[in-house]
Subunit: 135 residues, 3 copies
């Protein structure tokens, strides 16, 4: 199990952490299995999406911002309820197959840390779980 630091630089930001997850998988020595990436925060989440055109991430950020506006008469006094909602909509972990010692992502997939109340110093936990031989 490995912890990585993630430093976000914007208030809302989808940050590509794919290569850092790949490094952790390599360090784990797991050849075939499942990799979990976990976000231990409540105003940031994690998702998978297109790794080619960065406008896709911006469109996702825009849609989430329209669905869950920052100011909407929330009761939570800290004022960042929208970030909490968006984190639950994206979720707090992704699971990805590992094959041949590498993340078996689809061709166009990358793993994105989803900052919804930054910039902040954040962290992820990466655990690679091996499948038993012949399973």
């Amino acid at each position: 199990m490995e912890n990585i630091s993630v430093e976000t630089t914007e208030h809302t930001q989808f940050l590509d952490i794919t290569s850092r997850v790949q490094d952790a998988v390599r360090s784990s020595g797991v050849s075939e299995g499942i990799c979990m990436v976990y976000v231990p925060h409540t105003t940031a989440g994690i998702t998978i999406n297109e790794n080619a055109d960065p406008s896709v991430r911006r469109d996702i950020e825009t849609v989430l911002g329209a669905l869950v506006p920052w100011n909407a008469g929330y009761t939570h006094s800290e004022g960042n309820s929208a970030a909490h909602v968006k984190a639950s909509l994206m979720g707090f972990s992704v699971q990805v197959p590992v094959a041949g010692g590498r993340l078996a992502l689809g061709t166009w997939q990358g793993i994105y840390f989803c900052e919804f109340d930054g910039p902040r110093n954040r962290r992820c936990v990466i655990a690679a779980m091996p499948l038993p031989a012949h399973a």
Copy 2:
């Protein structure tokens, strides 16, 4: 693998089950690994979010209720389509790292059973999967 009963008392309710999941992890004897909590229903889901100020959960419930209104010309004759949609938006499992025999949640994180068509007697399945030594 352990089953726990969850009795909800409201129509829509985010119920903190963190300590019950922690108890199941302890019973499992798993020291390092991943804990999955699974909801075997279709009008209830599960998420992680802030464990301190209960207004956060109420704000999440309110936003989901605004995005997916109870009455909106749905075709499903049982009348609870909104609950089905909200369950899929939150998801039916969470995965959390286990370290030192305990859930390695972030400081502000709790695990919430999300009732969207209660009150009902519900259930969760908890499975703690150990990482191999040195993995």
Copy 3:
């Protein structure tokens, strides 16, 4: 770890893949554990929901279509940003307990491949991870 082909026939479609996942679990020989079903795409996702009345799936498709309209001034030039957003809202994997060599789904649960930009030839990865004996 098993790959299955999924051929969708509609632009937006929730396709029941439960029996195919069940077949892969049987082939894996795993008796107690966790099954992950992974979607290696960025405009399709996966979820769990009601297996009885097909109108539930249509209502979910309708709500997602209303929340994330196909045309809404997106910046991504391919024109399918809505599909990317909906895939992230549903997620790219489900995890389901395995007991007695079978998926331990709830009575009303099925597993649905969520096509948001079809029809296309798609694929899923299925990995069944055994719990150690006595865990």
